[in-house]
Symmetry: C2
């Protein structure tokens, strides 16, 4: 794995596995989840959905695979080459299929593969922009898209149970006039603090940066922080240091330029998105309140289960 666990992370993962909440697969960052875990996650998702009602979002769901060309157009590979994931499939005849089967039986590298033209979706908002770009220009006020609890993948095996390779983002996307979008992002940053506080988490907010790759990436992180384009709401999970539970991102015209999204009156459209990392939010609740939801603070139980 790319980053071995700290003693605290290994200890918390061990507790989760012993309690049956998390099921190991043999690969770090890829886990199964018990009924209790899934129930807490879904209850948290419903809490967020309730708060989103006043945005009147349009629900659009996408699978966690994306055309390679769509990801390439966004410039993702310039910023996060280390996190990208391309899907390869078999290209061959019967003899080559037999060689693939034999290699697989020996757990060797698979021969005779080629790009399928699909990649794994690295963030839940990526399929939204091309879909909106194919529509007519946006009416005044723009729109809000609710992509649900969407699975995303990042190639970063880690021993921290709060850093999964495939995880769920409870994600909303706002596209519209620059000032509308910026205000929406700020409203949700404050709202997320309140939501996570309401279930007993000691959540804090801070300016943040994406994990851009390499030396050039450090400059991109600095610039992103300077412009306050990204905020994170954090709480402790597997370490005493807080982990990001939700992220609030103002893209300015990045995605709207790439996908030719404009306002009806011809003016510029901007975009922003927010995502709650649902497994992280769920883990933070288990960390804070204990591994048995039946013995959680009745106020938290009432909020989630009624």
């Amino acid at each position: 794995m790319r980053r071995p666990p700290t003693p605290g992370e290994a200890g918390f993962l061990g507790q989760l596995v012993d309690a049956g909440l998390v099921i190991e697969s043999g690969v770090p960052g890829v886990y199964g989840f018990s009924a209790t875990f899934v129930d807490v996650r879904e209850r948290l998702e419903a809490l967020v959905t309730g708060h989103a009602a006043d945005d009147c979002p349009e629900r659009l769901h996408f699978p966690p695979v994306l055309p390679k060309a769509t990801l390439e157009k966004s410039g993702y590979l310039n910023s996060f080459p280390h996190l990208g994931a391309s899907i390869f499939g078999f290209e061959g005849d019967e003899r080559e299929a037999a060689e693939l089967g034999a290699a697989a039986a020996r757990h060797e590298s698979w021969p005779h593969l080629g790009e399928t033209g699909l990649v794994l979706t690295p963030a839940a908002c990526y399929p939204v922009y091309p879909a909106i770009g194919r529509r007519a220009p946006l009416p005044t006020g723009g729109l809000c898209i609710d992509v649900g609890s969407a699975l995303v993948f990042r190639n970063e095996p880690s021993g921290d149970p709060a850093r999964l390779q495939m995880f769920r983002q409870r994600e909303l996307v706002r596209i519209g006039e620059p000032e509308t979008v910026a205000a929406w992002r700020d409203k949700w940053r404050d709202r997320a603090l309140a939501i996570l506080g309401s279930v007993g988490l000691e959540a804090t907010v801070d300016i943040a940066a994406d994990p851009f790759f390499g030396r050039a990436g450090r400059m991109m992180s600095l610039s992103q922080r300077e412009q306050a384009l990204k905020f994170e709401v954090m709480a402790p999970i597997a370490s005493p240091q807080p982990t990001a539970l939700a992220s609030f991102n103002y893209h300015r015209d990045h995605f709207t330029q790439v996908h030719a999204i404009a306002m009806e009156d011809g003016s510029e459209a901007h975009s922003a998105c927010l995502g709650f990392g649902m497994e992280r939010c769920t883990l933070a609740l288990f960390r804070k309140h204990g591994l048995e939801p039946r013995s959680w603070d009745p106020a938290v139980r009432d909020l989630l289960w009624t």
Copy 2:
């Protein structure tokens, strides 16, 4: 695409796209779905969940990625090399990352990739067996696992809107004494006919075979049919010929041998699974009742929405 659409398939896809129910991505078999589509799918899932209550299933959820070694142990690559999908990620330094970024900007093949050790899950039951194999032997009566509405991937780009590359299986798995498992599979085959009939679909059942690869695969299909290991419940979707909506599979000791699952008394355990192809079931409803659920037969609406 591997198989171009028939006129009927292209026509139905066009209607779905025009109605906004299905959103094209640019790659055949990868689509987004509207609020209306997702609502119908979720209502159908809830209907299946209600019928599953008397199995008292244990809910376990898994992400749609699987350790490569797990898929290899199952022998999947010997049967379905053409459908498998391996996840590749970047392995390189800053210079190589720049080369990757430049290749991506030109929509060329990505250089400097290597296997991540993960594959896409081809059927929702695959992660269940290793998880159960790590538990103590099964008590009398065995167990039933509900993996929910799980995403799976198969590398088969097709112009038929009823053949997706990534899709949802509403899947249940039964592991236990051979006769218990076989009876459960047969019960659900009949139950699925009734469920799909209750929402107005002209569903039929037949012995079926998996799409095994190549000439050797044709022998495996014959053998599977002879032993009646697989049934499918079918209804028309994009073609007059019926399409499989749900599948009922008796694995005998295949997965239980691979993952060392046995009964508490030392006797042999068998497994079976069933999966409703949720997008197919949803599409069959749109085909049968029209693209606007508000004008569907009130009896069907009542069953789904109350």
